[in-house]
């Protein structure tokens, strides 16, 4: 069956196909100039939703990575102070043991100055915040020295609570050590003045050195040794937390790198493919135009007259 084809130039099908080739060509050019495989949401809805989800995950992980950095910073700051405290305790023990050779009063003076140093370590501030005040945020230092003879010798203005930071969607890290746990060995109400209270033991050591009370000095030294191990445990705990945070952070960084790669795969245009496609479409368009131009435009009228 023959179908009549009245007028080739006006043929609707040819026109439509030409327009489509041009549209496809324009789309490929747009992809190349923007570098994106998906220009409009409607071009590939599934990919668009996937990209949105990947981006959300990456952003969320970045939040946690940044929080991990902050946590590490805070933990390291605490760690540094703990090292100084440990050094101070060691010096106290040395001073206590050296009393046997008769330097009682001189050592006592140094013990006092170490006690003052310990209090100022407990009042360490980082960026305007007290490191060891628990969850209390105020301009009053957590440890106020009322004098070794006063009761209480030290007023603790912080609390016994810990602060958490989110380092993943299901994990938090405790970033602080409350001041009373650090220097008193427990909540201020129950631990201040006891054998675990570092400041009290330093004051006791000083008093006993001055009064040459060997038994008292010995008791104080025993307690200081115990306190030293307690601080050691705290140091290990901080170190452990830091490791945990670092591991978590490394994991998140790796995960983010993977997500970013997958996102790029969907999001970015594949240049070699797109350029090849562009030349193909260009060729296709030229061929169509050429064919249409050369189509036999002569009709019978040209030959009759």
């Amino acid at each position: 069956m023959t179908m009549r084809v009245p007028n080739l130039l006006n043929n609707a099908q040819s026109m439509l196909d030409l327009q489509r080739i041009k549209q496809q060509y324009a789309q490929t050019v747009l992809q190349l100039t923007t570098g994106k495989a998906v220009i409009n949401v409607g071009d590939d809805p599934t990919a668009s939703a996937q990209m949105s989800n990947y981006q959300s995950s990456i952003d969320l992980n970045s939040q946690y990575i940044s929080q991990a950095d902050t946590a590490t910073g805070q933990l390291q700051n605490s760690s540094t102070i703990l090292t100084s405290i440990t050094n101070d305790i060691n010096r106290l023990v040395e001073l206590g043991q050296g009393a046997a050779s008769g330097n009682g009063s001189a050592n006592a003076t140094e013990v006092d100055s170490i006690r003052t140093d310990l209090i100022s370590l407990g009042n360490t501030q980082i960026q305007g915040r007290y490191l060891f005040s628990g969850t209390v945020a105020s301009s009053t230092p957590p440890f106020v020295d009322n004098g070794a003879a006063a009761v209480p010798a030290v007023t603790y203005n912080g609390d016994n609570l810990t602060t958490q930071l989110n380092i993943s969607s299901s994990a938090t890290v405790t970033t602080n050590i409350p001041g009373d746990t650090l220097l008193f060995g427990g909540p201020a109400a129950t631990s201040q003045g006891t054998a675990t209270d570092l400041l009290a033991q330093a004051a006791a050591l000083s008093a006993n050195l001055t009064s040459n009370n060997a038994a008292g000095v010995q008791t104080a030294l025993t307690n200081l040794q115990a306190i030293s191990s307690r601080i050691g445990v705290l140091t290990t705990d901080l170190g452990g937390r830091e490791n945990g945070v670092t591991n978590m952070q490394n994991g998140l960084n790796d995960f983010n790198a993977n997500l970013q790669t997958q996102l790029s795969t969907i999001q970015s245009v594949d240049y070699p493919t797109a350029i090849t496609q562009l030349s193909q479409e260009s060729l296709s368009q030229q061929a169509s135009l050429n064919a249409m131009a050369r189509a036999n435009q002569k009709s019978l009228f040209d030959y009759i007259a």
Binding site: M3, R4, V5, P6, N7, N10, N11, A12, Q13, L16, K36, N40, V41, G42, D43, D44, P45, T46, S48, A49, M51, S52, N53, Q55, S56, I58, D59, L60, Q63, Y64, S66, Q67, T70, A71, Q74, Q127, R129, S133, G134, T135, V136, A137, S138, D159, L161, T163, Q164, L165, N166, S169, T172, T175, S299, L300, F301, I304
Partner: protein, 510 residues
């Protein structure tokens, strides 16, 4: 008996038939580029023969009719296809325009801003009393609101401009239906209603233009009148020589958008939701169903974020301007946001029916229009320390509540996606990307439908051309044939004339 005079008559009939046929061919050639023109041809019939004795002698030829070559079934199919194509194209173009509101490339976009807002809580948790971090939270909240409002206003602007298009389409429709009615009259008044070929072609063109604008059904009656009704059958547009006008009026129950009615015999029937095809049908669907669906989802997302953040914030403690603990402070305020404490179990939103805040299973929450009035609580904007970071009264350094605020971004069942009062969604980010997917999918579907319809229309058009189109070669051949016929008939007449002269000469003897 066949005599010279009769023969003259026969020759003359041949001459006239050839001349009329050539005239029709000329008409075809002149109209070769006229859109919608159907090629015409003469129907030549032999004249009745005369009987002389036992012999029948023919008496020549006559043109019994001028016929146009058209396929009515094809025309009806084409009209239908045009309705569907224009509807799909209108949908596709509009969705293309609004999909830019939902694009998210990681630096701008809805999900990015929502994420940044919750991230600001995360950063604040490391130092809850830090004034610049608190200010940062307020800033990010305001950016998020701006983004939500921008997406919503893109959609609303599109609806507004579609409304204007509807307003300008209706007069065009009325013009076309009036013209079609006039042509109906012209055609049906002919003794033979198929005679006026040019009027019939013109009417078909107008009908196709009408089909582009509004979805219609066409049928023909015995007098070749076009009966045109809306595709749903809800109203008649043209019947015989009468065209029924479409009118528009503002509808206060729908944002003062236009509603469309057809007036017939003093009765005005509202056809706003009863048009499926054509530009008008597509625009109605976009303006009243598709785009409001998206704005509703945006409102629900915004409302849900506000509700969830408010609940957690009101449960915690911040610090007011005088340094005292503050409690029960909502983070977001705006019309339709429930700031009672504790908030209603379903976060009762303004119920359109009775303007109350109470929600129940029978009165599910209504989030309509929340985005436009959503703001960060002015109390918090003035004094950012009012952000409830702490869960212990008077302990400003406690960050438990702000951790809870940050963790809202991970929680599921936070959004009332179906508007029924049941919170059954994934986290905020998946709800937003779900909306993105929905917009993209619909855009893609309409694009595909439009392409398919375009293919169908083009194929039908090509078929129609092959039946009705004027072909130069055929016209040339026909012209040649009739030209020769004319020449032959003229020669015949000339021969008869010579014979007559000879006869005359012989009779008069000179």
């Amino acid at each position: 008996m066949a005599n010279l005079t009769t023969s003259l008559g026969i020759g003359l009939s041949g001459l006239q038939a050839a001349q009329q046929s050539m005239s029709v061919i000329g008409h075809n050639i002149a109209n070769i580029n006229t859109p919608g023109y159907s090629q015409q041809s003469t129907v030549l019939t032999t004249n009745p023969s005369q009987e002389y004795g036992n012999l029948q002698f023919g008496t020549g030829v006559n043109v019994s009719s001028v016929q146009a070559l058209r396929d009515q079934f094809l025309n009806l199919q084409l009209t239908q296809s045009i309705c569907n194509q224009s509807s799909a194209e209108t949908h596709s173009n509009a969705l293309q325009a609004v999909s830019s509101a939902f694009a998210d490339d990681g630096t701008t976009g809805l999900n990015t801003q929502i994420q940044a807002f919750f991230a600001s809580f995360q950063t604040l948790s490391a130092d809850p009393t830090n004034a610049s971090l608190q200010q940062n939270v307020v800033g990010k909240a305001q950016s998020m609101i701006t983004e939500l409002q921008s997406a919503s206003s893109t959609l609303n602007n599109e609806m507004g401009s579609i409304n204007e298009q509807i307003g300008s389409t209706v007069p065009e429709i009325n013009t076309l239906t009036s013209q079609i009615a006039v042509l109906n009259g012209q055609i049906s008044q002919q003794i033979n209603p198929s005679n006026d070929n040019d009027a019939i072609d013109q009417r078909q063109q107008l009908t196709d233009q009408l089909a582009n604008l509004v979805g219609i059904q066409v049928s023909t009656d015995s007098k070749n009148n076009y009966q045109i009704t809306l595709d749903s059958g809800a109203a008649t547009l043209v019947s015989g020589q009468t065209a029924y006008q479409m009118t528009t009026a503002m509808d206060p129950s729908n944002n003062n958008y236009l509603k469309v009615s057809v007036q017939s015999g003093g009765v005005t029937s509202d056809v706003t939701d009863k048009i499926a095809g054509g530009t008008l049908g597509a625009n109605m669907d976009l303006r009243d169903v598709v785009l409001p669906g998206y704005t509703t989802q945006l409102d629900r997302i915004a409302g849900s974020i506000a509700d969830q953040v408010n609940t957690v914030n009101m449960a915690g403690y911040g610090t007011d301007a005088s340094g005292n603990p503050s409690h029960n402070i909502p983070f977001f305020t705006g019309s339709g946001i429930d700031t009672s404490n504790p908030p209603d179990a379903n976060f009762g939103h303004v119920n359109l029916a009775d303007n109350t805040l109470a929600a129940s299973a029978a009165n599910p929450p209504n989030y309509k229009g929340i985005i436009n009035s959503l703001v960060v609580n002015p109390l918090i904007v003035a004094t950012p320390s009012n952000i409830a970071t702490s869960n212990a009264k008077g302990v400003a350094g406690n960050n438990v509540n702000v951790l809870a605020l940050a963790n809202l971004q991970n929680q599921t069942s936070t959004v009332d996606t179906a508007g029924t009062g049941t919170f059954n969604s994934g986290p905020f980010s998946t709800v937003v990307s779900g909306l993105l997917n929905k917009v993209g999918t619909q855009a893609q579907q309409f694009n595909t439908t439009a392409t398919n319809q375009e293919n169908l229309t083009t194929a039908l058009q090509t078929q129609k051309n092959s039946v009705s189109g004027v072909d130069m070669d055929t016209s040339a051949a026909q012209l040649l044939a009739f030209q020769q016929g004319y020449q032959a008939a003229a020669h015949f007449i000339s021969t008869i004339s010579q014979l007559t002269s000879q006869l005359m000469t012989s009779l008069t003897g000179s």
